[in-house]
Assembly symmetry: C2
Homo-oligomer: 204 residues x 2
């Protein structure tokens, strides 16, 4: 809905405004992929979006706000991918798969994207806004997993397994961001399957 998050004001939200903001958020994330947080300058973001530096600060209070929105935007895409898969899933196990496979879709699980993500994560401890977003992301991940796990495992184990799955996903993303050759999607998915096969009770 954009409505540029709360910032109160009635905010008419001209079309152009919405479009430019989105362009800039995306440009910011793309620059992040190539340059990391250190090299992600306002000028580069502007250039990347085919605009001038001035306009970036016209739409975003400052650098932090820009990258905060970039993080939201990037997460939204991933989040929607998972939701879409979740909608197709009928059984608990399928819902588990939906969450996992959504997180490893080819268009997301790429070294440069993982790297951008890593850069954002590294800022989390010093940027309360980013921390909040991160919290939300983790909460949703947990919730998605739990809703499936409670039907597959004794209640007492669900929490731990949900955390393990999240941890594995994070760890694999980290690895993919670290190794330039990247960790292949197949290996990542195989890892996740291996975990589920051994941790979940046998089933048909």
């Amino acid at each position: 809905m954009v409505r540029q998050h709360g910032r109160a004001t009635g905010m008419k939200l001209t079309k152009i405004s919405a479009i430019r903001r989105k362009e800039l958020r995306q440009a910011a994330f793309q620059v992040l992929q190539q340059e990391g947080m250190a090299g992600a300058t306002l000028e580069k973001v502007a250039t990347h979006a085919g605009a001038s530096k001035g306009i970036v600060l016209h739409y975003f209070r400052n650098k932090q706000e820009l990258f905060e929105h970039a993080m939201r935007e990037a997460n939204l895409a991933l989040s929607e991918a998972v939701s879409a898969r979740l909608r197709q899933a009928t059984t608990p196990y399928e819902r588990l798969e939906a969450v996992i496979e959504g997180n490893f879709e080819a268009r997301f699980f790429q070294p440069s994207i993982c790297h951008a993500w890593l850069s954002l994560c590294a800022e989390v401890p010093r940027e309360p806004q980013l921390a909040r977003i991160q919290t939300v992301i983790h909460a949703r991940m947990r919730s998605n997993l739990m809703s499936a796990l409670v039907h597959l495992l004794p209640r007492a184990e669900c929490e731990a397994v949900a955390l393990s799955i999240t941890t594995l996903i994070d760890g694999l993303w980290l690895r993919a961001g670290l190794q330039s050759e990247g960790l292949s999607r197949d290996i990542a998915l195989a890892q996740m399957r291996d975990y589920l096969d051994h941790r979940l009770p046998r089933r048909g």
Copy 2:
């Protein structure tokens, strides 16, 4: 001559030179803990070590080299902790535990340290030196794990399990660096144990 990069263990090494370098490496890592890579300026590192900016660049070519050494230093500590535990271990299972518990020793597994580590990781894709160090770290981790796993599992599964363990450790560190309250050591260790209990064949 400084005999840079300690590697060639020749170790003539003026005393003062060796000491200063170590102080600076450590100061660099500490600043990283508090400020992240963005805020880790040469001036701050110098101040933190009770010296002037000039001296930092007297001992290290440039900022990259300084933080490269900081990463080496930090890793060395962790690495030695694992080695020490490994030396005490007799059975393969104990060796596994040594690696895991070494990676979660209380003095290492702290939010600020995990955070510093995260900051370093975020630079890896753009800093070939850091990438090399990271590669070495992963290689040693894998090797340590494999030497234990081959006695506990069919050969074909070892590689995957070693990767899973590494991934879990990385993921838990990441999480600890992200959440300010941090992930408690107990939970982290419980996670690892839970994984091993389900992935390794039953044993006495």
